[in-house]
């Protein structure tokens, strides 16, 4: 790396705050032409916020972009494109029934002889040039929906290049690729490097970081911890940089209760949604953590067990009995799911707190199917008191509640249905510190009363401080298991990043 090279882009003091959380805190770094600049950090460190700021989807609250010493404004996708920044998100921006050339030049079609007409031959010629540059032997007339994920990704790269991107930001590009396809991608990246294109590469795979990275920047809690050269740093050091921080856990769990019988046992579970063979156990009285980096498949396991996704293989045993079925069958059998996205999947926002709280328990509270508002009110009030849900009244729509209180409703609604096994997905996402402690106290209460909990969390400290033990997932499978003594943030991260 020639240190005398002029940087392509410099970020100074970039900050971005959202209500309740500082996503980026005074981040500065430099991008050189032709380098592969790895960006790593655990979930929530700020990587995707940085990506969005770079491509103009977010505007930074503070800080500036510089190029050649001059400030550059990047406040919209158009600005970013003009400057030469292209971002390839995990959900592609491709139109399925248009061909490759049309997708590459969407919105920038070449004008034909008459106004409104498109010069197709020229479009295909130009598209061909780019595909050839990338070494892609695909016909430009292929419809995008016929392509596999790896090929679609190539089309996205081609699209970026056709816009003369000088900086390409890629978010976990190898997540959906096979080894062979990964190799091809790396070859393409090397080619781009040779032409001076800089690549900001977000990764969760330590091996990639060391194989492809020219420099590595570590983010943590929205701040830049440091930039290293892979040759000079060790994976351990990088992990320590990603992890070490002040733990603001105000919840101290007493690990006294010993675990009882096995409530849930899963063997080689496979689902249509990316679960590739998962086995785990949860006993009465335990909080078992399910950890792993974003995309590892944790939510998919939760959904498979609950029946929200189609199970294609493996076995689920609940209280020793084989179980498979739809969510309503799972609920009847005593399983509860607190979904990751509470607004879209856990609550009916326009319905009242009372309505939401009693829904799963309707069958048990009113076995003759005759609903009595008075009894429902009573159940709701009891839950509101017990969980200390702060709401102006049980009859306000649940959307007026704060995040923490909404989450209490999501958890609380299962208490009236006598569930025995709870799958909790990101219980404290978007919740302030005070409420977090209450949520954990609640979960603790559940297991003390004999339930079993499978807890998914991206906050490593939560897993370490709240769980009896934890499984770590990677690429749709269980990468390993950590017992209480082994449970540490570093160990979890190492297992999740494929670094032994």
């Amino acid at each position: 790396m020639n240190q005398a090279t002029v940087p392509l882009l410099e970020l100074r003091g970039i900050s971005k705050t959202f209500p309740g959380v500082k996503a980026l805190d005074d981040v500065s770094f430099v991008v050189y032409p032709g380098e592969v600049h790895m960006l790593i950090g655990e979930n929530g460190a700020g990587k995707s916020s940085l990506m969005k700021v770079l491509c103009g989807a977010y505007t930074a609250d503070a800080g500036q972009f510089y190029s050649n010493g001059e400030p550059v404004a990047i406040r919209s996708p158009a600005d970013a494109r003009k400057f030469g920044i292209a971002v390839i998100f995990q959900e592609f921006s491709l139109v399925p029934y248009l061909n490759i050339a049309q997708n590459i030049f969407l919105g920038r079609e070449f004008k034909g002889r008459f106004p409104g007409l498109i010069d197709h031959p020229r479009m295909h010629r130009e598209a061909r040039k780019i595909l050839d540059l990338l070494g892609l032997d695909l016909s430009t007339r292929t419809l995008v929906h016929e392509l596999g994920v790896a090929q679609q990704q190539m089309v996205e790269i081609a699209k970026a290049l056709s816009q003369h991107a000088r900086i390409l930001v890629m978010d976990e590009p190898t997540a959906a690729l096979s080894d062979r396809e990964t190799e091809r991608l790396f070859a393409m990246i090397r080619q781009l490097q040779a032409e001076g294109v800089a690549i900001i590469y977000i990764s969760h795979r330590m091996a990639e970081v060391f194989a492809m990275g020219d420099r590595v920047t570590v983010l943590r809690d929205g701040k830049k911890v440091g930039t290293r050269l892979p040759g000079e740093a060790s994976p351990d050091e990088l992990v320590r940089m990603m992890v070490g921080r002040n733990v603001d856990m105000t919840y101290a769990r007493s690990f006294g209760t010993s675990a009882g019988e096995i409530i849930l046992e899963v063997q080689d579970l496979r689902s249509a949604n990316g679960v590739k063979g998962v086995s785990l156990k949860v006993r009465r009285g335990e909080i078992v953590g399910l950890s792993g980096l974003v995309g590892a498949g944790r939510t998919e396991v939760a959904r498979a067990i609950f029946g929200a996704d189609k199970v294609t293989g493996g076995e689920i045993r609940l209280f020793g009995k084989a179980h498979r079925g739809t969510p309503d069958q799972a609920v009847a059998a005593g399983i509860a799911l607190i979904p990751e996205n509470r607004k879209a999947e856990g609550l009916a926002l326009i319905r009242t707190v009372c309505d939401n709280l009693v829904l799963p328990g309707l069958a048990k509270a009113f076995p003759n199917r005759l609903y009595q508002a008075a009894k429902a009110r009573k159940i709701a009030r009891e839950l509101i008191d017990r969980l200390r849900i702060s709401t102006p009244s049980p009859f306000r729509a649940v959307q007026v509640l704060s995040g923490g209180n909404q989450q209490k409703v999501v958890i609380g609604k299962w208490l009236s249905s006598e569930s025995k096994f709870f799958i909790v997905d990101e219980p404290t996402r978007g919740i302030d510190v005070g409420a977090k402690a209450e949520i954990f106290a609640l979960i603790d209460q559940l297991v003390q009363q004999g339930a079993g909990v499978l807890m998914i969390s991206s906050e490593l400290s939560e897993i370490v401080h709240v769980c009896d033990r934890a499984y770590v997932m990677r690429d749709g499978r269980i990468a390993g298991h950590l017992a209480r003594e082994e449970l540490s943030e570093e160990n979890i991260l190492k297992m999740g990043m494929q670094h032994e």
């Binding site: 609950f306 929200a308 739809t326 969510p327 309503d328 799972a330 609920v331 009847a332 799911l337 979904p339 607004k343 879209a344 999947e345 856990g346 609550l347 009916a348 926002l349 326009i350 319905r351 309505d355 009693v358 829904l359 799963p360 309707l362 069958a363 009113f366 199917r369 005759l370 609903y371 009595q372 508002a373 008075a374 009894k375 959307q399 609604k413 249905s417």
Partner: protein, 327 residues
């Protein structure tokens, strides 16, 4: 603790829960009445008012089942065609068997079957409701026409005709039916767990699914009820018209949807009441009645109904968008 309420208690409770939410609309209905009284001498006569009530009752019977469907964020465009086929089948069975009861049963049965078919298409084949019921509309319409083969069936026993044209204590019989089904409908929606689940499905289908609500079964239920109510409404219609031919019922779909929307039920699901639909049916009938009294051609009716539907959907969309922005 005994939570069982007496029947009258439940009835009143179910109704008042609904009625509280429709105050403005009742007021609007009243305002329309006042306007019409001023505009036309013929409005405030016993004959006219009873007529309005009779028409509104029929519309309500049809729209009540539709309300449940729309509550789940669905749609049933086949209700008009449903009335047509159910009435024709009821009529022909009555004639062939001589038994009004058997004919009536077949009429409601037909409506119910169409409803079940819709429910299966929507719930099991996952077809979007508007496509499924739109296709069903034409299929049912076609069957009706083919079955009737251009003939007309008329002349039914007086006892049956009383259902549509008769009076009891000075009030048209359909109005009694209206109250019966208002009670049943409000009761079903507000006082059964099925009702709660239906509201939950409309408010957020995925969330309801993940809370253990059996979505497919409930959807089939609401479409079946909608179909059965269309079947019932067809009997009242048949009794009133005293004849059945191939093209009846067509004109009911748009007014039924209008009644539900005016009544405050949102197309997007989860919001609305059966009582609201009653008031909506009343308001629409009053408007159309007013147009008649002012000797506007009957051809104006689809136009006005169409505009009302568009306005109602527009308001609904605005309200929903504003609610979502607040989230």
């Amino acid at each position: 603790m005994n939570f069982a309420l007496s029947r009258p208690g439940r009835f009143i409770g179910a109704l008042t829960a609904d009625l509280k939410t429709i105050g403005y609309r009742l007021a609007a209905a009243l305002v329309i009445c006042v306007i019409l009284t001023i505009a036309s001498d013929a409005f405030l006569t016993a004959n006219n008012l009873l007529n309005v009530l009779r028409q509104a009752s029929l519309l309500f019977l049809l729209a009540s089942g539709l309300t449940l469907v729309i509550l789940t964020a669905g749609l049933d465009l086949s209700v008009g065609a449903n009335i047509g086929l159910s009435a024709c089948i009821a009529a022909s069975v009555m004639k062939l068997s001589g038994s009004a009861l058997l004919g009536a049963a077949c009429g409601v049965g037909t409506g119910l079957c169409i409803g079940v078919a819709n429910g299966l298409l929507v719930a099991l084949m996952r077809m979007p409701p508007f496509i499924a019921t739109y296709g069903m509309l034409w299929v049912v319409h076609g069957i009706t026409f083919w079955y009737m083969a251009g003939t007309t069936i008329y002349g039914f026993p007086a006892a049956f005709r009383a259902l549509g044209s008769g009076y009891f204590l000075g009030v048209p019989i359909p109005v009694y039916l209206m109250f019966v089904f208002l009670t049943l409908g409000a009761f079903f929606a507000q006082r059964t767990t099925y009702g709660q689940e239906i509201y939950a499905i409309g408010a957020n289908r995925e969330s309801a699914r993940l809370s253990g609500v059996p979505i497919a079964r409930r959807l089939i239920l609401v479409y079946t009820v909608s179909g059965a109510m269309a079947g019932l409404a067809s009997l009242v219609f048949l009794a009133r018209m005293n004849s059945a031919e191939g093209d009846i019922g067509e004109a009911f779909t748009l007014p039924a949807i209008a009644a539900v929307l005016i009544g405050g039920t949102s197309l997007f699901g989860g919001v609305g009441t059966v009582s609201g639909t009653l008031v909506g049916a009343l308001i629409l009938t009053l408007v159309l009645n007013g147009m008649n009294l002012l000797t506007l051609d009957a051809s104006w009716q689809p136009l006005v109904t169409g505009i009302i539907v568009i306005l109602a959907v527009f308001l609904d969309t605005l309200t929903r968008k504003r609610a979502e922005a607040r989230k």
